[in-house]
């Protein structure tokens, strides 16, 4: 369990954010932590689940930051499932 800084981008937002997560966080938690800074703040909420993308692939919801091979300050993209 350790603090883990990510660069995060939420689909439809205008800026890349610094979002601290935990290296044991599953992607559902990572998505929520990123969305907290964007949804209903600059981007309207949608009633759909969130997904996390990294290096062009969608990560499984139960994958953790470490198990997914995400490195500190890697860029993750969070958005609503299509």
């Amino acid at each position: 369990m350790a603090l883990f800084p990510l660069q995060a981008l939420f689909d439809g937002d205008l800026v890349v954010l610094l979002v601290p997560v935990d290296d044991a966080d599953p992607m559902t938690v990572v998505a929520d932590k990123v969305a907290h800074h964007v949804v209903d703040r600059r981007v309207a909420a949608q009633d759909r689940p969130l997904r996390v993308r990294h290096d062009g692939r969608t990560l499984p919801d139960d994958a953790t930051v470490v198990s997914a091979g995400v490195k500190p300050l890697d860029v993750v993209v969070v958005g609503y499932a299509s």
């Binding site: 205008l14 890349v16 610094l18 500190p72």
Partner: protein, 505 residues
């Protein structure tokens, strides 16, 4: 006593060049302070400025300028003019003073370096006048805001900003250190006087002076006009320097210096002037949009100057620079308004229904790209949730320009192929860039930039304690009273949503 015409003695007294015999050239003009780019020493002696001035003329002119502008300041200072100015305009000038006043003083160091290490006597002569110019600009742009302190405490940031680690101040310091405080004399002539002053500030000051008069800020208008007349003179040091570089086969060096500094200048210019022109200036007093201003004065006139010297437009011109005119400063406006506690002025949202209509007219597609963000923000304000319009984390900041990374907005606007930041892993460190040109500038001289740390690097490196938003604001020397607030106390957001729909057409 007979008086000779100036033309009969000017060149003789000015051109005191000499051949060295007791010391080596590189001892008198070390490359770190004056990179000659391989030109023979005597090749520089034909350096000739297009506009001449003598010391008596200089003193006479400057005395007249100061007498006039300080008289205006003394009269206006006893009036209620400042109190009656539009809140957005006040924000524009408080932002201006913080970014510009102390760098004007720093520019006097640049001019004095050229005054000593310029490679021709004529050049050193002109740079001496430039030194005096910039000292005057530093003094007058700290004196005027000092007079506002009783009415505007944030005017203190005219002197304070560049001495803090506020992120915008870090960005300005990084730019100005690169451009002149830590630059050699030859590169300074090309980058400060030609690229920045001829290309940007000379024109910016003309535009700002006109805008100031329109909004009734006679004080600031007189100040900026006075400064611009000096800029117009000393900015000409770049032209003969570039001509000599090109004539002696170093077009490549001149081109690289211009390309490098044009991009860096654009970054800060968009932030400062883009926001002022399109959002902070009252709608009824806006003439050109920022994009129209850029197209007329930069894209056309400055580009013509590039070509007159035999230079090409920068490599990023069509692919990166021109498309940014449609979106970059709009993204910064939204970001700076949202992160308003991190700046020392009160950002004016500038998105009341009639202002949105103007933005959509000047920037077709503005509403689709940016209006939706403002809709969400306005809804929160109308619902009594201002806390949802304030930041709880930070944007990533570019390791070259030190400005937040807003590439996703360019992607949304259809002007960038990807919303992702540029990333460079080098010598065990990860660098983040907002754009391809910023990464290019870095990779031209990595040793020059790799030691710099952004506010985010410092946050992650443990230099900011506690590592929270509050800790960061304190690190940036922003007390609660100094943090930016909405310039109009959210008056713009109170318009009904239906009005927004009408504004969209």
């Amino acid at each position: 006593m007979p008086r000779l015409a100036r033309s009969e003695w000017y060149d003789l007294t000015r051109d005191m060049n000499w051949s060295l015999s007791y010391v080596k050239e590189e001892e008198v003009w070390p490359a770190e302070l004056s990179d000659g780019f391989g030109l023979p020493a005597e090749a520089w002696w034909v350096w000739d400025e297009p506009y001449k001035v003598t010391y008596p003329e200089y003193v006479h002119n400057q005395y007249g300028k100061d007498a006039g502008v300080y008289a205006v300041n003394a009269v206006i200072g006893r009036s209620k003019v400042y109190e009656q100015l539009d809140p957005g305009w006040k924000s524009a000038i408080i932002a201006h003073y913080g970014v510009i006043a102390i760098p004007e003083y720093l520019a006097s160091l640049a001019e004095s370096r050229m005054g000593r290490f310029g490679r021709a006597a004529a050049w050193r002569n002109m740079a001496t006048f430039g030194t005096l110019d910039e000292m005057r600009h530093g003094q007058i742009q700290t004196y005027f805001p000092h007079g506002l302190l009783a009415r505007e405490p944030r005017a203190d940031w005219a002197h304070k900003a560049l001495h803090t680690n506020e992120w915008g101040a870090v960005a300005a310091r990084s730019l100005f250190d690169d451009m002149f405080t830590a630059n050699d004399a030859v590169s300074t002539a090309v980058q400060l006087t030609f690229t920045f002053e001829t290309g940007f500030t000379n024109l910016q000051f003309l535009g700002m002076a006109a805008d100031a008069m329109k909004v009734g800020d006679v004080d600031f208008g007189a100040l900026i006009s006075s400064i611009q007349t000096d800029e117009a003179r000393h900015s000409q040091q770049g032209e003969p320097t570039i001509k000599l570089l090109v004539e002696h086969g170093r077009k490549d060096a001149a081109q690289q210096l211009v390309d490098h500094m044009f991009w860096r200048s654009w970054r800060l210019f968009a932030l400062l002037t883009g926001l002022s022109m399109d959002y902070y200036t009252p709608l009824e007093h806006r003439g050109h949009s920022f994009k129209e201003f850029m197209q007329e004065w930069i894209c056309k006139q400055f580009l013509d100057q590039f070509r007159d010297f035999g230079l090409e437009k920068p490599w990023y011109w069509d692919e990166h620079f021109l498309p940014e005119l449609d979106w970059y400063h709009h993204a910064l406006q939204l970001g700076i308004w949202y992160w308003r506690p991190t700046v020392w002025w009160n950002p004016d949202a500038g998105v009341a229904p009639e202002e949105r209509e103007w933005l959509e007219e000047k920037y077709p597609g503005w509403h689709d790209t940016f209006g939706g963000h403002w809709d969400v923000i306005a809804a929160n304000l109308r619902a009594g949730r201002p806390e949802a319009t304030l930041p709880e984390t930070f944007p990533m900041i570019c390791n070259l320009c030190h400005v937040p990374v807003v590439a996703p907005a360019g992607y949304r606007a259809g002007r960038l192929a990807s919303p992702l930041p540029k990333i460079l892993d080098r010598d065990g460190r990860r660098y983040v860039f907002c754009s391809a040109p910023c990464q290019w500038v870095f990779e031209q001289a990595p040793r020059r930039f790799q030691g710099h740390t952004t506010v985010i690097d410092r946050f992650l490196g443990g230099q900011i304690q506690p590592p929270t938003m509050e800790g960061a604001l304190a690190y940036m020397s922003l007390s609660p009273e100094e943090m930016g607030r909405d310039a109009t106390d959210y008056a713009w957001a109170q318009a009904a949503p239906d009005d927004h729909a009408a504004a969209r057409g």
